[in-house]
Symmetry: C2
Subunit: 495 residues, 2 copies
């Protein structure tokens, strides 16, 4: 380890003193060993040690932190539970990490208006648990739901298995409170469906903005009735193409399953020992299709999907007849990523979305890339909405292997865009896909996004280096303030 | 009529010449008699004669018009079919009206990806008609759907009867092409669900931005499967309170009807002669509840809702058993506004949304306001989502009557906000509710919205005077441009 730079130590100590005055002594972490767990998020390949970790307990404290950081030009990376899979919560070495772990209270559950008002550090699953006595739940269910926070889910516009039918996070946010870098507190929307109507849609802009615009301090989410019944079909196919075609046939028939997942043979082989099952030797791919609703409706849908699968040359179609059986079928999918972790030293999983009818082409391209880079891969993804999650296997001990895996992933993402798709389904852009943004967006579109960013954070201190391939350099822009038509310069109350 | 001002005539002629060079001679309307039909939109109480009406045929022509108007500092009011109920398409006397009537082509219908790509002047109902052979439809159904355009629907984030279950326009937009005042063309999202992922959500900002940010030149909408069956319940109640309570009970039971509408006695009396039906003398209010889905599900829901209504002291509950009967029950609702038009000289209908549990309080307040202003009123609205449409009756021939009606409406809207509601459900803010924005939004929230506006249209030439109570005065802000960290002044390519 290189010896510590005295200038950095002095800066850290000076900032720690100021921040401790805001949040209390014990909530500013400066010891290197205690900062270490915050060095990365869900993408452990990227690491950076933050100058300090600050854990405020309230929106007021967050506001004071932002004003303090603005005054001292300190960069801020907001973080929930740090499960981002695009490096959205990757620290910067010359900035602080602002954790929301202590803002973890459910403030209100209103079963009549079907809303929950929560602090950003509340975990996703906790909301559904609190809503459960009323027969309600919070629909978006990222795989990280037992650990990821609602604040992080909003920042990344998180998805999940059930988002095919029920929509992503953005479809379930009714109100937000957020603090801007200038200390302004926005209070948007409110406690019922429709509360965000009128005026320009600031909630929409903040959702999925990856911590670049404001720090979210309170969220009102929409609760939904828990579906009466759910059944799951497990359908095996002799080829990847046949499975992909069946996805199109199910959706094309007018059915929107609650979830429709794809697993290839490599995933099945990896997962088989974990679930103590075997898969027929002719199975090249498996689809898992969940259908939910009233019992009568679900039974009818199971019949229809079964008939479609058979027509699309399914080898075997099994439908769950009990909740226990449903859980058992889902287990293979839920253990998939852990199972892959057991058959390779390291893996890199990215996230892109394509039109469903391009699934066979893009999956075929992956085999070509695998050859090109000499790296193995597997596929387990949300087929219903064309949201790919290629799992690229590598060995971090081999020099150059990580870089090859990243290049493989970038090739897949570029292919996604080339067939009319996008760089993200649910993981966000973060640092991982930042440099590919120019492949998806025109210079005009990116410039307009940057201008929009300036309209919220002209200091660019919030989560710098994420989402955009180049800094937007709006600092000078932000140092100005127009008030009643008059141009003003720094030290006016705003900016 | 005052004699024409020679300076205005000269300005009009000069602009007409320039605009004719862009769109062709016949598509710039300068004759006063031909401009007259464009003087107002759905709120006929507000009128203004535009300088010129321009009817471009393509996105390229719209781009040229915007650049021309920017160069000559000409204000622009975009307009679809002019059905806005908040004055969103009200012209300005010193600006042009830009009509999208000639951009009326359906460019693509893709039943597998379930999308339609259309020009902004395509009427709402036309999209569903084009999707119908595939068993699909475009879900948002404002009452104006046979005439209002998709472009206007996007600008106002239009709602409709079925938006309770299926969401408003914002939930159904997958892609947009839009031209900014500086001539930049944004191409956002794409042709499938998920196409808008990644980066800051510009589609979300543009949807509902009431023509203040950009002119929308192409829209990709999401198509949905037409529900297999639908049945309608007509439920009469002895009091307004009982009907309101039943709304809460239905939603509270976990059912989300496809539509849940409220009509008071005054509406029923007005509509009775038109539909040749009579309503029981004890009926104070009627609820119409549509349930859709698979046949088995709908039949079960009809039974559940019937039981709830009876428990909530319904006088009579009738469920449709055929499509003809369903249409007949809906007729009373669909003719309601026309029927009120027959029993009063003029009426003014506004639009606010409240938490459902506050319906009885706010409806009771209306009686107080009616007394205060000496004006009669009636209620017919989307009860399921708490979206009120009070119909205030007045006589435009009586001096001061319109002002009283407006004051009555403003009192209702302020009450909506006071109980935790908002100024709009589906009509937008426009000029109608502009001055009430400070009642719903804090100064901070409004300032942030204005800053956001500047990030799109720093010239403020797009639909000026709409949505915001005061101009944002961002003109100077907009004359600057920061490029690679360097501040530049006018005559740079952007702004």
């Amino acid at each position: 380890m290189p010896p510590a730079d005295p200038a950095i130590i002095a800066r850290r100590n000076q900032l720690a003193t100021g921040l401790r005055a805001i949040v209390g002594k014990e909530w500013v972490i400066s010891e290197e060993s205690e900062r270490a767990p915050y060095q990365c998020d869900g993408i452990t390949a990227y690491m950076a040690m933050p100058l300090l970790v600050v854990l405020p307990a309230s929106a007021d404290e967050i506001r004071s932190i932002l004003l303090f950081c603005k005054k001292h030009s300190v960069k801020i990376v907001p973080r929930g539970s740090g499960t981002s899979l695009s490096g959205g919560a990757l620290p910067v070495e010359d900035g602080i990490l602002l954790g929301t772990a202590r803002l973890c209270n459910i403030l209100e559950v209103d079963p009549l208006e079907r809303i929950a008002r929560v602090q950003p550090g509340v975990r996703n699953i906790t909301v559904s648990e609190a809503a459960s006595p009323h027969g309600l739940c919070y629909m978006p269910d990222p795989s990280s739901q037992i650990i990821s926070t609602i604040g992080g889910n909003v920042a990344e516009n998180a998805g999940g298995v059930h988002c095919l039918k029920y929509g992503v996070t953005a479809n379930h946010i009714l109100g937000l409170e957020a603090v801007l870098m200038n200390g302004d507190v926005l209070r948007l929307g409110g406690n019922y469906l429709g509360a965000a109507e009128g005026g320009l849609d600031l909630i929409g802009v903040l959702t999925g903005s990856e911590g670049l615009l404001a720090v979210i301090t309170e969220i009102t989410v929409r609760l939904s009735p828990r579906p009466e019944t759910a059944r799951v079909l497990s359908m095996s196919f002799p080829s990847v193409d046949a499975a992909c075609h069946c996805v199109g046939a199910i959706i094309g028939s007018g059915i929107i399953p609650a979830g429709l997942e794809f697993m290839d043979r490599k995933v099945l082989d990896a997962v088989a020992p974990l679930i103590q099952e075997t898969f027929d030797a002719n199975t090249a791919a498996l689809l898992i299709c969940e259908l939910d609703g009233s019992k009568a409706e679900v039974d009818a849908l199971v019949q229809t999907v079964t008939a479609i699968a058979r027509k699309e040359s399914a080898l075997e179609v099994r439908a769950s007849t009990s909740d226990a059986e449903r859980e058992r079928i889902w287990r293979s999918r839920k253990l998939a990523f852990a199972a892959i972790g057991k058959i390779c030293r390291d893996y890199y999983c990215t996230d892109g979305t394509i039109p469903r009818n391009r699934l066979p082409d893009v999956l075929a391209k992956m085999a070509v890339f695998s050859e090109k880079y000499g790296l193995d891969y597997a596929n387990c993804f949300h087929a219903g909405d064309g949201n790919l999650h290629p799992i690229i296997m590598y060995d971090s001990r081999k020099p150059g292997d990580l870089e090859k895996a990243e290049a493989f992933g970038a090739d897949v993402l570029r292919t996604c865009v080339d067939v009319g798709g996008v760089l993200s389904g649910e993981h966000g852009i973060g640092v991982e896909k930042r440099d590919l943004m120019t492949h998806q967006f025109t210079a005009t579109d990116l410039e307009q996004q940057q201008t929009l960013r300036c309209a919220f954070d002209p200091t660019e201190l919030l989560n710098p280096g994420k989402m955009f391939p180049t800094p937007c350099r709006c600092a000078e822009f932000g140092r100005m303030h127009v008030h009643n038509g008059q141009l003003r310069f720094p030290d006016v109350p705003r900016f």
